[in-house]
Symmetry: C2
Subunit: 336 residues, 2 copies
DNA sequence: CTGTTAGCGCTTTCAT
DNA sequence: ATGAAAGCGCTAACAG
């Protein structure tokens, strides 16, 4: 295809292949003059080393893989953004694989990576209950692996997550402090640990509160109209004065339902929601949000991965980095 | 690192390296018996061919690159999703690079790919005005390149886009047909062709309408509060009875502002918006949306790319595939 | 049907 | 300071 390789440069310059190679890697045993000549020609011809050849030789690929359950999702988009930033800084390439929440796809993809296609892997697990022998194999093979968001608790790798439980407690306490006597929780349809953690935060905060109000959990589905109906019914029947939405989309539906029922926000009902992009809070400044540091999760996870890649020592102490969410109460818009 | 290579398999089975290689590629000149033995051992040891070695030998990498301006964006997430689907089907890997709308990053990344790191490239341009010599070089080097969304009109490669102009005309006509006498257009802060196309659709539709109402364009910014203020002022001053939002986020703000001003939707003002995920229409069924076939753009672009990769003939007739957007009027929610 | 061998482009001893 | 040569793991042309 492209004939501009080291051999060609060497011939053009009347140098040996190894001299050119060393010059390009700025070796100390090459004269400044020779280096200059080599660099000049390389630049002129836009010489690019063949990644397969150097990879084959040096056992590295300048490539990392990121494996996520889905991508049409603000949280994961932001994480990727963060990872990508660090990856670019390091001059690496980023392979992206989407498992669509399917554990078997995760397994087969990971297995396809064990043989030196990448120098390291960033993973958010598709299923937290299934087996993880494929991941143990990565450790065996010495391929650095860093978990983020959906981790494998029992494995000894670095994990980067957010404070789902704690921020959920905070959110609930926020509503309690605002005087809510009856707080409903809108549960997203996800049977994974982060969903569980968030709900536990809500439940525990209520349990520990002075009023000891009973929990009011509304299970939601993946169907908008269905959710809208359930929320409307719940609002009409139970008349909560506070709503805690576990994901942003539910907060948006909730806002719309409140309008329909002529419920004023925040006078009649206060809403708080987990959120990544704060679309919900565009609607009304009093839709307070708990914003996850998604971008920072990407940045942190990537940094941890590169530490391992560069140290070459796979082992190291297992760390669990927990990044704090932010309680965002937007300032009142203009002269509302 | 991992010692399980062809040589090792060969030794274990008392076969020659080439026999094993041929068996693994299911060559017709290997006995079924031998193949069976080889496959069995390969599976048992989870043998994976070294991608660098086969890449170096065969000049292919089973990898494509996708280059986009940003990723925290429903449109691009959906496109990636579509691309990823086809990529997985083909057994390829997907490299993702984000330019952050910076033309120079696009150039340097593309230049780093010219030397056989990928078998093909999918690109949405960061800047449609700047020079594209780096892209011409790809054609020279015979690396297949397919454009999507933000294309390079003057280049002879396949382009996959949506009908921004036509659907904008349709949207405007939709409002006209619904009886709107004064339609405002909310222009997103993007100085690229798709923004221009959308606005032209609006302008031309008005020009061609019986009433010949004058256009009313409100330029928006990247600041939510600022947008909210401008929209509010415009609604109060101009009192339009129809609003055409060029991006979904503006429709959401608009919805919120209408609530504040006690404007009923759709009785007082009708809203239509470009959209990818229909967040806006969660708010109110009468927020009609023009939904772009983002996922299909990914699928189509990827298919076109693989055609070129597999045909090996880079050339071919230049095609421009235009996918149609969908005018979505959601059914009324439940028993509203 | 199976084995031998020559590279793909690069890095890296080992010589000089 | 430079060159010769081996070899990373794989495929394929060329023998048998």
């Amino acid at each position: 295809m492209n004939k501009i390789n080291i051999k060609y440069l060497a011939k053009e310059l009347n140098l040996s292949i190894s001299t050119v190679s060393r010059a390009l890697s700025d070796s100390y045993e090459i004269s400044a003059e020779t280096k200059a000549k080599v660099f000049a020609l390389a630049r002129q011809l836009n010489y690019q080393p063949n990644p397969n050849a150097s990879g084959l030789r040096g056992q590295k690929t300048k490539t990392i893989a990121i494996v996520i359950p889905e991508i049409v999702n603000d949280f994961f988009s932001l994480v990727i953004s963060g990872i990508e930033k660090i990856t670019q800084e390091k001059g690496y390439y980023m392979l992206v694989y989407i498992t669509h929440e399917d554990h078997s796809m995760e397994v087969s993809f990971i297995n396809s990576l064990v043989k030196g296609r990448v120098d390291g892997i960033l993973l958010s697990r598709s299923s937290e209950q299934d087996d993880y022998s494929h991941l143990l194999e990565l450790n065996d093979k010495g391929i650095p692996l860093v978990f983020f968001d959906r981790v494998c608790e029992t494995m000894d790798n670095v994990k980067v997550t957010t404070d789902n439980y704690e921020s959920s407690v905070t959110a609930t306490q926020h509503l309690l402090a605002a005087g809510c006597r009856k707080i409903a929780y809108l549960q997203a349809p996800r049977n994974i640990s982060i969903g569980q953690l968030r709900m536990n935060g809500y439940l525990d905060a209520l349990k520990d509160s002075p009023g000891k109000q009973p929990p009011l959990v509304l299970e939601c589905t993946n169907d908008h109209d269905e959710n809208s109906m359930r929320i409307k019914k719940m609002l009409a029947t139970e008349k909560p004065d506070g709503i805690f939405a576990s994901i942003e989309k539910l907060a948006v539906i909730c806002y719309s339902v409140c309008e329909q029922l002529k419920l004023r926000i925040p006078e009649d009902v206060k809403i708080i929601s987990f959120s990544n992009l704060q679309t919900a809070s565009l609607l009304n400044p009093s839709l307070t949000t708990i914003t996850q540091p998604a971008f920072d999760i990407g940045v942190t996870a990537a940094r941890e991965l590169f530490k391992r890649i560069e140290k070459k020592s796979t082992g190291g102490t297992a760390e669990h980095v927990v990044l704090k969410s932010l309680l965002v109460k937007r300032k009142s818009t203009s002269t509302r």
